[in-house]
Structures are given as C-alpha cells and as structure tokens.
C-alpha cells in the first residue's frame, strides 16, 4: 500500500502554553507498507517525538497523521515498539515477556486462554528466529544485553504488528553485538515484511538496514533530505564498507553537520 504512513505538516509543542519547547515543525514524511525507513538526525532533534506522534501516543499541535487510511487520534494498536532500553519485565521469563502483548492486544487477549499452546509455540519460533533457542525460560538478568534487546524486539513483533517502530534499539550495545542484531533484524524483516520506522543516529546502521533514509534537521525537527539505498537484499555487513555505502554515509553526515550549524 502506498503511503501507509502519511504524516503531513506536523508540528508539536510540548507544554500547554505557547512557550513550551517546539519539538517538530512542519514535519512531513510518507512510508509505504512493507518499507523499511530509517530516520537519522542530530541528537535532540525530535526523532523520538516523531515516533510518538506517528503511533498516536502524543497528539500533534498542528497537522495530522494518517496511518492505513485512517486519521490517527488514539494510540495505534497495530504498532509494535522497541526502545534503546529493553524494558523487559524482570519477573517474567524471556518467553513470558515476549507473550505480554498477546495478553493485552485484541483479538489475541480474548483467545489467549484457549489458544495458549499455539501462541506459546509462536513465541518460541520467534525467539528461535533471533537465535534465542534454549533461552526461553531464562529471566532477563540471566541474559546478556544483546539477548535482552532481541527479546524486546520479539516482544514488539509477536502480535504481528503492521507497523514496527524502533527507537535506537541497538544504541546501547557494543559494535559486534549491534552488527549481529542488524543481521537478525534484516532476517526478521525479510521473513515478515512489516513496515518499519527505525530512529537511529548510527548512519552505517541506517544504510545497512533501510530502503530509504530520512534526515531530520536540528530542533524544531523536520525532514530536510531523503536518500534511497540501492543495495540488494539480503545485505552483508561487508557492504557497509563498500564505496557506495561509505559515500552515502558521508553524504548523510554532511547533511547532519549542516543542520547542526544552521541551528
């Protein structure tokens, strides 16, 4: 579907009176369904705010968002979310953490009691897909940082969301773990084809994972540039060191530096 996400001239000001921080100003972006889009930008440019507006967690001050043909006016239950902090529940095993959305989101929640076996098998499959076979019954503190983040991503995907919002999910990991997770992410995306919006400040990550990269300006944020990544899939890590990728990273970098100076 074309323009699955259609954000038009959105502005957002925190605080009720007119002197709150203006986080977004006339931000416009479109994402087709099944597309993997990365949003990059200088720190504090309103990337996380952008996510909250698209998912309906924060109503915009001006402008509007249309997702799947409908105006967003309340939190969108078709989204899955993962953040830099894995936010797993420490009293639940990895498997039970992954199954949390199924206990809440409809239509799964009402079928959970009868179909528990089926849902559990689904969660196990998903964990196996990201390489966590055998860790299903471990508690979060028994898992490494990378494993916790994999679990968190599985939790974001378990209810088959058509829109996956990732807010710097690999930001707190070391480089080797991060690259491993890029591969796992690519595999998940190719297997299930959700629409993904990935917010990141890692330009190599954006080039490796995304079909299209949007660059945001400094606060108040808006989209100032857009690049399509023409790399065949499945992509290999070595591709990020090829001239094409390096050139693109450099170009994105220049845009961001310019945006920082302008502010």
């Amino acid at each position: 579907m074309k323009n699955f996400v259609d954000m038009h001239e959105v502005s957002l000001r925190y605080g009720e009176d007119g002197d709150g921080t203006l986080a977004l100003q006339n931000a416009t972006m479109k994402v087709d369904s099944g597309e993997f889009v990365a949003v990059v930008g200088p720190s504090g440019c309103g990337k996380s705010t952008l996510m909250k507006v698209i998912t309906g967690l924060w109503p915009p001050t001006a402008g509007g968002v249309i997702v799947n043909g409908k105006e967003v006016d309340k939190p969108l239950s078709i989204t899955g979310m993962a953040f830099q902090n894995p936010t797993l529940l420490p009293w639940r095993t990895a498997l039970d953490n992954v199954m949390l959305p199924l206990e809440i989101a409809e239509p799964h929640a009402s079928q959970m009691r009868r179909q528990r076996k089926m849902y559990e098998a689904k969660a196990r499959d998903l964990l196996a897909l990201v390489g966590l076979k055998g860790f299903e019954d471990k508690f979060p503190w028994e898992l490494s940082g990378g494993m916790q983040q994999r679990t968190s991503i599985c939790r974001a995907l378990i209810h088959d969301p058509s829109l996956l919002m990732l807010d710097e999910p690999f930001g707190a990991l070391d480089m080797f773990t991060r690259e491993e997770l890029w591969l796992a992410m690519q595999e998940l995306w190719m297997a299930r084809r959700p629409t993904v919006v990935l917010v990141t400040h890692d330009l190599r990550e954006a080039v490796f994972l995304a079909d299209r990269i949007l660059v945001m300006s400094n606060r108040p944020g808006r989209i100032i540039a857009e690049r399509t990544v023409e790399l065949p899939r499945p992509r290999k890590l070595s591709m990020t060191y090829e001239p094409y990728s390096v050139g693109m990273v450099q170009e994105l970098r220049d845009h961001i530096s310019a945006a920082r100076v302008a502010a």
Binding site: K52, T55, G56, L57, P75, L76, S77, T79, G80, M81, F83, N85, T87, L89, P90, W91, R92, D96, L100, P101, E103, I104, A105, E106, F139, W141, R155, A156, H159
Partner: protein
C-alpha cells in the same frame, strides 16, 4: 654475601572462623546472651536495687511464675496487631494503587495523608476510646493507623515508577489503565510492598501496645502498666522482653514471606508471575 631467600611453601590458608556460616547463625544469640550476662554481673556487682533495674535471673523467674497471664496478654496483643495489620494491608494496597496510578488522586490526597501521618498516634487513642470504649477496638485501629501508611507509600512508589517507555508499549497495545496496573504496576510494586510489610508489622505492634497502655484492660501493654504500678518491676521487664521477642518473630515472618515472594528482585530465581 647475597642470600637467596627461597620461596616458602604457600601456607594452607585456613578459612577464618568468623566466616563460618554456623557461627554467623548463632552469633545473634551469643550477643543477646552476652548482654544478659553483662547486665547480671553489673546488677550483682553494683548492688542495684531490683525496683530500679532487676537482674535478668529475677526477670526470668517472675516471667516464669506468671507465664500463663503473660501468654494470655501477649495473645491479646498479637490478636489486635494481626487484625489491624490485616486491614492496613487491604487499605494500604488499595490506596497505594489509587495514589500511584493517578496523579490527580496523588496531588489531591497525598498532602492530607502526610499531614495525618505526622500526628502522633498516642494522641488519637483517647479519642478512639471515647468513640469505641475500652477494649480491643482502639488497639486494632491504632495498629492499623500506624501500619497502613508505609504500605501505601511503598505500593504507590512501585506503581508510579513504571518506565515511561514501557507505558508507551502498553498504551500502543491498547492496554487499559487497569491492565497496565495488573500486568506491570502491581508485580513491579511487590518488592516494595513486601519490604514495607516488615516496617508495617513492627509499627502495628507498637500501635497496639500504645493503645493498650493508654487505655485497655488487656494486652501486654496493659500488663506492663499494671505491673509497674504495683512496683513489680521484674514482671514489667518480663513483659518488655516478651514484647521484644514478639516483634522480632513478626519481623522474621514478614522477611521470610518477602524472600519467598519476590525472588526475582533479589535475583535468587522464582517467585510471582
């Protein structure tokens, strides 16, 4: 004349006696026994009069002589404490959930609650006696009044400090306020809750005894009051010892329940869902 010092064979390091687990376990008893011993020696050596400070042996003797009456009164205190504590758990958890999950309720009620909590409860007891008469009820209510506040504050804290990202995840899934509380808030508040039980049970106990001392015809507080008014000082001390022992026992029970229920918080595995 250079002398080469040969490396001596490494000594077999003996485990320090003070690290011995069994020793650690009996240590508290040794400390208590030591205190009694020093106390006994001082009383005998300095010839302190029994009505000023009775010796431990005379306290134990008096305690044994009157043990049926002491046990009856201790039972009464245990009864009022337990009932008051039980209500404190119910009201404390309900109010804690309400205050922790709604900033509106928090802003509205919390200052009044803090104000109420700073009133010394001993000043409330006479009023309770006017309302309910001398008996178990004022003791139960005093125990409740002292115990519910720590429970409330801890439950509210546990629920109010759910990570914002997690709240976003749940809201986007369409979770109702109640679902968020049930799936995340309450389990998250459990370690806070069980930690507060240890505080609450001891202050409930203090509450009961205060009420019994100010106005009652039963309970260990009343027993001590009667004993000291008759100048039976060893007996009053026996009451004190029983009080202390009961307090320790209740604290230990609350601690054991805590360790069992919230193993995930101390990372010893298991516990809760």
């Amino acid at each position: 004349m250079s002398e080469i010092t040969l490396p001596t064979a490494p000594k077999v390091r003996r485990r320090k006696f003070t690290r011995n687990k069994a020793f650690r376990r009996v240590l508290p008893w040794l400390v208590v026994a030591g205190i009694f011993l020093v106390w006994q020696v001082l009383v005998v050596a300095l010839r302190i009069e029994p009505f000023v400070l009775p010796s431990p042996t005379s306290i134990f003797a008096a305690g044994w002589q009157w043990h049926t009456i002491i046990l009856q009164n201790a039972w009464q205190t245990l009864f009022t404490t337990t009932i008051g504590f039980f209500f404190a758990i119910i009201i404390g958890v309900l109010a804690g959930v309400a205050i922790g999950s709604s900033s509106l309720i928090y802003d509205g009620f919390y200052p009044a609650l803090v104000g109420f909590n700073t009133i010394p409860k001993v000043a409330v007891v006479p009023i309770l006696i006017i309302w309910f008469g001398v008996g178990s009820v004022p003791a139960i209510i005093t125990a409740f009044l002292l115990a519910f506040f720590p429970i409330l504050v801890n439950v509210a804290t546990g629920i109010a400090t759910v990570e914002p990202e997690l709240q976003d995840v749940l809201r986007a899934l369409g979770a109702s306020k109640w679902q968020t509380i049930r799936k995340v808030g309450l389990p998250r508040a459990m370690p806070y809750f069980f930690a507060s039980l240890k505080v609450a049970i001891t202050v409930a106990f203090v509450g009961s005894i205060i009420a019994e001392t100010v106005g009652s015809n039963a309970g260990i507080g009343n027993f001590m009051l009667v004993a000291s008014s008759r100048f039976e000082v060893p007996l009053a001390f026996a009451g004190l010892l029983v009080t202390g022992a009961m307090g320790i026992a209740m604290y230990a029970i609350a601690g054991a329940i805590e360790a069992r229920m919230t193993g995930w918080a101390t990372r010893t595995g298991g516990g809760g869902t």
